[in-house]
Structures are given as structure tokens and as C-alpha cells.
Subunit: 150 residues, 2 copies
């Protein structure tokens, strides 16, 4: 019972700590969590229209305009016209930003490994299974909520 509370609380604590640490890393740059989310998506999906970004990140197209504005003036991305559809704009990562994201990905992996290293080896498999189970169950619950309120 108390353990149940503790697990969820610890999970939330972990992500809070992680996010505040990320944010601190961006100090001095024009990067923010929301902007990096855009970069991250571009790494995964490749050059995209703003509309596609908006859909994948689940924010309004209008918001993407602002985020890309900031990233563009920071030199992280470029806007190029779509080859066939003149309404669309293709957002691409600048080479330096792609390099930076690769580094960030490596850091992320290293951190993951570090954190997992703090776990008793005998507990690791159960931990992974447990976290997966929790994530899966939570996805179910959220989906059910969305249904209900739709």
C-alpha cells in the first residue's frame, strides 16, 4: 500500500529531476525543452513539414511556427520550400544541430546506463518488466479516460 504510493512518487520524482537537469543544461543557449522536443522529433523523423511536426508533437500548428522561428534564428534548423506543394514548408536540421543531437542522444544513453548501473543486477530484469507493465497499464487508463471524455 505505502509501497504503491512510493513507486509512483519516485517515478515522478525521477522525471522531475531529469527535466530540471535538462533545462539547466540549456542555460546560456536559446534552447528550451519544447524546442529540443522539436529537434528530437526531426532527428527521428527527418525533414518534415510544420504540419507533420504539429501532429507528431501534439501541439497546435501555430505553436510550431513559433518554435521553428526560434530554432531557425538560433541556427538549429532551416526552412526550405516544399518541392511540389507551395503551401508547405520543410524544416530540416542544420548539420551542427544534427551533430549536437547525436551527442545528446549519446549522453542520454550514458545516463540511462549509469542509472541502471545503480540497480542491483539481480533486480534489473524485474525492474524493466515492471516499468514496462506500469507504462502499459497507464497507457490503457489514459486511453480509457480520453474515450470517456470524448
Amino acid at each position: 500500500m505505502t509501497a504503491g504510493i512510493t513507486v509512483l512518487d519516485r517515478l515522478l520524482e525521477v522525471s522531475e529531476l531529469f527535466q530540471s537537469d535538462m533545462a539547466r543544461a540549456f542555460d546560456g543557449t536559446s534552447l528550451t525543452t519544447a524546442r529540443v522536443r522539436v529537434l528530437w522529433d526531426l532527428v527521428a523523423a527527418g525533414p518534415s513539414t510544420q504540419h507533420a511536426l504539429a501532429e507528431r508533437l501534439e501541439v497546435s500548428p501555430r505553436n510550431i511556427t513559433g518554435l521553428v522561428d526560434a530554432l531557425e534564428s538560433g541556427g538549429y534548423v532551416t526552412r526550405t520550400p516544399h518541392p511540389t506543394d507551395r503551401r508547405s514548408i520543410i524544416v530540416s536540421l542544420e548539420a551542427s544541430a544534427e551533430q549536437m543531437m547525436r551527442q545528446m542522444q549519446a549522453d542520454h544513453a550514458a545516463l540511462s546506463a549509469d542509472l541502471l548501473g545503480a540497480v542491483d543486477p539481480a533486480d534489473r530484469e524485474a525492474l524493466v518488466r515492471g516499468v514496462d507493465a506500469i507504462a502499459g497499464r497507464l497507457r490503457e487508463l489514459v486511453a480509457a479516460h480520453r474515450e470517456a471524455s470524448a
Copy 2:
């Protein structure tokens, strides 16, 4: 290796899902995540000065003024003068808000139990130990980062 990445990513996913679900629950009210954080703290700490709230929540005093403004006009808290220090203002939960927070706490516990219920019983203890270990290690790392940049 891949598992290491997956664990951290899953943890982050869990807290994202959780937070978006929380936010949806506040639809239609004047409550938001930041404001509920204030209420939550008042439940745990009892009536407090705004200064104390700012310190515990690690935000600027000015920000607390705005949050308490919103909570006050929503009828969730009341401002009363400090008995001895006329500079200070004491923020207290309204009875209805205290009731609501008790409910929220119960829901939180129920959700925790539900999520833990999705985990194979044989994995639960290891999961709790593992998450604790990760949280502890992450606390260390963040503290070290703060030191380094201070």
C-alpha cells in the same frame, strides 16, 4: 544497453502520461498543475506564508503571489494576516479545498495501487528497490551538477 535506454524512456513516458491525465482532470476548473502543486504543499505543510511556499516549491516569491491570487479567487485558499509579523501573509486551505485534496490523495493512492497491480507480483519488490536506486542515483548526479555549475 538498449534496455537501459528503454527504462529511462519508459519512466519519462509514465510521468508524461500521468501529467497529461492530471491536466485533463482539471479541465473546466481554474486549477492547473502549478496551482495544484501549491495546494498539495499546503496540505502537507499546513497554513504557510507565501515566502515559505516559494522556498519549498523552489519558485520566486513573485510567482507565488500570482498562483495564490488565482487560488484565492477560485475559493481554494484564503489569505489572512500573520498574527505577529505584519509583513507576512498566511495562506490557508479552504475547507472544501482540503476535502478535495483528500480525495485527490485517495485517487493518487488508488492509481498507484492499480499500476502496481499490473506488475507481476514476483517482480514488485525488485521494481521498488530498482526505482529507489535510480531515484537515489539521479539525486546524486543532479546535486553534483548543481555543485559544478555553482
